[in-house]
Subunit: 193 residues, 2 copies
Amino acid sequence: MADELKVMGTLRRRALDAARLLLEESGAEGVQLRAIAARVGSGVATLYHHFDDKDALLAALAIEGWGELARKIEEAMASDRFAHRIDGASTAFLGFIRRHPQLYALMQTEQALAANREVRAAEQQAFASFQTAFRGDERVPPERVEEISLVIWVLGRGIASAVLMQAEPGAADELVRRVISGFGFLLSPRFAG
Amino acid sequence: MADELKVMGTLRRRALDAARLLLEESGAEGVQLRAIAARVGSGVATLYHHFDDKDALLAALAIEGWGELARKIEEAMASDRFAHRIDGASTAFLGFIRRHPQLYALMQTEQALAANREVRAAEQQAFASFQTAFRGDERVPPERVEEISLVIWVLGRGIASAVLMQAEPGAADELVRRVISGFGFLLSPRFAG
DNA sequence: AACCCTTGTCGAACCATGTTCGGAAGGTCT
DNA sequence: AGACCTTCCGAACATGGTTCGACAAGGGTT
């Protein structure tokens, strides 16, 4: 509320940044057009010259989020910190959820975005990146790649939604730990389904 | 809008029924106090004598939902249609999600309810019922019961949120099928994690 | 009966937030 | 200069949650 530097950077860009900040500060509730306009130092009506409506703004935010997630996944797979690409991709995925819970919730649970084709395409893109981690892994038969990566992807959605329900942040970490531990056990040969 | 039978049944009960109906007809967007009041044939202000506010109404809806789910799980476990109690509980869980996607979404993703202690307790209760399906199963070591049931529970959340994102209903069924198939494969001894 | 207190009800207003309207300021093209 | 486009804005509008003040019905209490 003090900075308001109107100089440089398209207003669209700055509005998205402000929205992202508001989202992380105060959750989805906090993302209000008047609040964004105040941060950016513009009038509310101005925002409508850069976005069709609020949903379009949220959609742009979500699309950027999926892109960011895809990039993180690819970086992790490229790095040599992990024994398997699957581990890298999964770690990047979970890390993103833990680091940006509000953003991921928006990307994932906002009903209004479900109908948006571009958002869906962006998620498909991210999922495609994730899938490549499973393709070529000797433990995964090629015809199962899609199914198996889908399971982990969906489990990630579940973890995110469970995490958001937790009131205290510590509980969230513990929850994630337990889910991963349990999942690991299910995958181990000890468990004969 | 034609019935409006004011006779019998506390208004609270009828308001909840109307809300539930609105939820299933038109999604969370459709659950509006004025719409509920119209259905029930009362003024809007009257609703405030039965619920603290809208969130309290939604919370009551969610609590009933969790109770319903717990009941379904227990019925399925008691029946003899399933080889293992785990199968019964899981089927009941998934069936509930598929049959009441909007309600489950409310129970699970509505941010406002995350802070509500009674809603959380109701979910804990339902989860506890679910957990008993794993307790005593010869394939699950006792010390792993909690973790493993948690994984399935969280996976269910993920399935629900993924299903809600699907535009066409057919795609949702296909998605659920693929996730379950993939999960089944991961559990099979063929996959050595 | 007269009095009060609680409960349920309501229309009207209040308020926050997304949205639209009409116009102003500045640039570019002809 | 004139026409036109983009960017911008204050003000008003629409919707939906919420509060206010009042009215009616029932049940004690005196």
